[in-house]
Symmetry: D2
Subunit: 264 residues, 4 copies
């Protein structure tokens, strides 16, 4: 085959995993000896993504974020999974993939958008309140000019405040994990509120994007963390679909309530 | 639309999640108050799937299983994810789904197959060794007659024993969580070894299937637990692909090493 | 990395495609010169899967099968796609994948199951009616013994007969493409009807499985042909979702009509 | 459940499909009577997406586009599908979905990007050459200012010209289907070439995006058309994987050629 010319491609390397006949290594740790029974699965996810184990405080907040975003009922993701399971029960992995595929820009994208906005501002640990105030003004102005909505603020349903945000902030404070990105996010919230007069609570994906930025996660991988969390929710829904199915009823509802209007 | 007749479909119910303006409820727990900061993400997954929180021992073993199966290097799942990311970096969820879709009958199916075999035998807590011995003989005979390979035994690479199995058994013992399914699995292993003469270690998916059966998980959902675990591994690979890509090099290798042999 | 021992793996070959700087080759044909503008997309799909171009009659029947199975309204696949698009409009490919994942054992599996049943019976071109009668009796007996439902017969909605079946049979007759698998299927239908007294029409996936078996397609790939067809239907639904969305309304309906019943 | 307030959601309507006990309707056509045996699968896809049947010329060009993009060998999509099939052969639909998920912004996105660029310029049927020249200059200037690469031009491998482009243009000319979007694309190519001095052929996705824009397809659905086409290619690869597997060999190659470099 000749699709590529001889130009050298970079050699392939990985830090993630390796097996020898007697041992399995993940990110340089002996899986059976140093990780299993020693770290919880949230911390393992942290390690797999970032290449290092979390501090105890980071483990607490990271787990809380995964717990917060796993599920909140019959979301479009959950419904897509259940409908897919209805047609293909032999392949649970397909039903789960189907649910995960809805974790895109509209719902879980907030996570990533907030992280990207904060990371582009690049506040440092040494930033003073005045420094952050300046970044904050720049961000608000640039959103105003481009007419874009600021990510991470407001919730269509939890208008008085997202209960998960309050909890995550409290946990992060207890573990002394409020870094410059989160400080910037809190300031943005204050300014947006005072300038618009509207109550726009920081939503859970928004504060999660800020806290994860402080832990060093690249904005480009944030959506992946949301997907791990959501995978657990989706598996919960498929488990329920096995013994208390609603996929067929939903199909029936959709059929019955939709009008057929041919364009011809 | 008229696809369905008027026959009543069952009403739709869910125990998983619900939101009110001020609270989010998951399996009857207040998410922000009772779960976030209180339980790790592994325990949250346990709750979502089974409808109850694990005991401390169950949480330890369940987390260890999720940690054990998350990753062991450049598996076909990891490679599929990285190749998908190469073509569609705008949609991380697609790369993750692509990896998860390979979690099927060949690799992670062992999980499910072992669980199904043990759950069909239906050993009870009160089973004596003689009872289990009988079930064991029945299982071996039925596999021999149908010519099927027994699931959960043997590993193509860890021929001296799967290091994850040893660790999982030790943890389960420490927490007094060796129930009748795991006892049956251990006995099957003994008998298979003595009758065949071959060393066939219990592999990690096999022992996981047994331990999860003892915790009450239905065999039909076991593959879902493996998928949650594998999702974390896949996100790790995509995170690495962002800064140390190997997808294009792999494509190049495949092109260069494949001979084009048209059938025409 | 050391996962595999030195045991030689088979060399990689493909007959599907190859590129040189000036030409692209598919199954040994020059894509731009011999295929584009010369064959329709159904025939191209036939070529990609089977390695040969269809005869004119095969092209007509194969296209008719793809046309028949593409869509028939708001199926679970269509709904899953639309719900996924609602959450991830930036990644059309994900919405399509989500719909395709529901093309599993329950709905489109009939295709594969019928093909497998007929191909296992292995009727030859030279089979007499008496030969087929014998195969037929064997098949019916083996289904009766195992208690399995015979695939390809009956339809939950088109109880008087599936209009697509009539059309496919007529087309196949016109093109002299009724081979031994289809003859066997017709006989099975007759016997099932006379022995059960029930009117059980051959459904569209059932007759398609028979006709495709006569064209030489392996039962293991039949589901793939259904998926190509269904992909077009799903893209139609996503196209409609862009300008006449129903995903959010469906979500709303599901939320409103589902009762939250925590198990705790 | 209470996630949504009482605000009315729009009613659900569809023009795509509907079933009555005796008939199936697609976009207002009787499926068995008016479509099966009457239109090829490419035309059926056109109908499903756009709501109308193509003219004979449109059917020829639309089919040629689907044929052109279906496959050109061991692309990342094809490899992802084959690797997924290696792990989950019980679920062909998953392997296909896995391949389709790579049809994203890097490869098949060109399709969509070119269509969007041309549709935003909004050339009309009545546009004179001078009008198009002006649009052309605007487009080139805006790409120069933003530093963005112009989509649809250049090919990493077919440097002398993409053979599929020549063929598609010839077909479109024969059928008198060169509309304002394609005229604009041809002019852009001329100007880009004369101003940069570089030979930058219009690639197949680029010309396809232009021709499909002339046929009235919204840029937002173009990627979907590419996905239908690619689905056929992917099914071809999975069909080949069944009898001439290369997934395991590729895995072996990846393992052997990758260096494990833990970061710890």
């Amino acid at each position: 085959m000749t699709m590529f010319d001889a130009a050298a491609k970079p050699p392939m390397t990985t830090s993630i995993g390796n097996s020898t006949p007697d041992d399995i290594w993940v990110q340089g740790f002996n899986l059976a000896e140093e990780l299993m029974g020693q770290v919880d699965f949230g911390s393992m996810s942290f390690l797999l993504i970032s290449g290092r184990l979390p501090s105890p405080g980071e483990a607490a907040v990271f787990n809380a974020i995964l717990v917060a975003l796993a599920d909140h009922g019959l979301t479009p993701s959950a419904l897509a999974s259940r409908l897919t399971y209805t047609g293909a029960p032999e392949a649970l992995q397909g039903a789960i993939a189907s649910g995960v595929l809805g974790a895109g820009s509209v719902y879980l994208g907030v996570f990533e958008d907030t992280g990207r906005m904060l990371q582009q501002a690049a506040p440092t640990d040494a930033a003073t309140d005045a420094d952050l105030q300046q970044l904050c003004t720049d961000i608000i102005n640039s959103h105003r000019q481009s007419g874009q909505k600021m990510p991470g603020l407001g919730h269509p349903f939890h208008k008085n405040g997202d209960p998960r945000t309050t909890r995550l902030l409290k946990l992060a404070q207890e573990h002394d994990l409020i870094g410059p990105h989160t400080r910037l996010m809190l300031m943005l919230h204050e300014q947006a509120r005072s300038s618009s007069g509207a109550r726009l609570p920081i939503n859970a994906p928004g504060i999660s994007g800020a806290l994860l930025s402080d832990m060093g996660f690249d904005a480009r991988i944030l959506r992946g963390i949301a997907v791990i969390s959501r995978a657990a929710g989706v598996v919960g829904h498929v488990a329920e679909e096995i013994h208390a199915p609603l996929g067929e009823t939903l199909w029936y509802l959709a059929e019955r309530q939709t009008t057929y209007q041919p364009r011809r």
